[in-house]
Symmetry: C2
Subunit: 184 residues, 2 copies
């Protein structure tokens, strides 16, 4: 009826993206170990061997799937603490599956742990710079840890008390707590 004879290169790009998308979803839901190449292939409606041919190994598939554009979080000037707090609302919203996959795997997959630790360390350093007082680094680390815990409890564990709460309400309720950490 329509019959758009997609070119070979185009088809290739599509199936590759279909595999990556399926991988992200399953990695996010089950974590690295419990995700099987066969399951990803089935979800992408493709033979398992093709996944290997494209990505070489399960580990590389994971790396490609969870790779995030990595927007420079703070370019140049240091943002004031209040503005940093303002961004929290965004982080409480539905996270990209690549991030969820990373978080889901970070406690049981050493490479994911390393990656997350690095990312969080970076956020801590930025926040510490923005704060600047005596034990700024410790307080910044506790702020980041707080965000981490709330995200895990909300998105991955599904604490019943957080289950129905909107991201805005969570961010709003959390704000005084984070401000207390940011100031003396």
């Amino acid at each position: 009826m329509e019959g758009t004879p997609t070119s070979r290169a185009e088809r290739r790009r599509r199936t590759e993206e279909r595999i990556l998308s399926a991988a992200r979803a399953i990695f996010a839901e089950r974590g690295f170990q419990r995700t099987t190449i066969r399951a990803v292939a089935a979800a992408a409606e493709v033979d398992p061997a093709l996944v290997m041919q494209y990505f070489g190994s399960k580990q590389e598939l994971f790396e490609q799937a969870v790779r995030i554009p990595s927007i420079p979080p703070l370019d140049g000037e240091l943002a004031p603490v209040e503005e940093l707090l303002g961004r929290i609302g965004m982080k409480m919203g539905p996270l990209p599956q690549a991030t969820l996959a990373m978080m889901r795997s970070m406690l049981t997959h050493p490479d994911a742990a390393e990656e997350v630790r690095g990312k969080l360390d970076g956020q801590v350093a930025q926040l510490a710079d923005a704060i600047g007082s005596g034990d700024a680094e410790l307080r910044a680390a506790l702020m980041v840890s707080t965000m981490l815990g709330v995200t895990i409890a909300h998105q991955l564990l599904g604490l019943t008390a957080l289950h129905g709460a909107s991201p805005e309400r969570i961010a709003e309720t959390l704000r005084p707590s984070l401000r207390a950490l940011a100031e003396g």
Copy 2:
């Protein structure tokens, strides 16, 4: 030389405890999936088949290993919020391996997730009772989530900024933040 001919029942209890101890350690370090019966057996210096004979399945071994005496956290009377905050220092110290095993597995092992969610929900309910204001449940959930996040970042991920910090210092720095959540 010494030759204390331990009785059969006594030997049985010892090896069983040796297996459970090894299981706790490895579950805490690697999580449920990556822990193998063979590894546990090797650490306990025992044949893998014996582990099965004693515990029936890997799942049951996990349940027995992470079973915690479950001290009634708040018996009878509701403790004041300040006293609850005082207990935080204890929770920041080195956790029992059973707890670590549970936390390590909670993101990738559905049963562990269920168990942890239940336990945290219980803590939330208790805290909410102690707080009592309008959105007490949400604020209690955020307090518990904060503790969860800090514990994960400190004990499981090893954030560099928290790595060298003493439990007391962490608890002290965290206190104003939690108090801000507990009050309006």
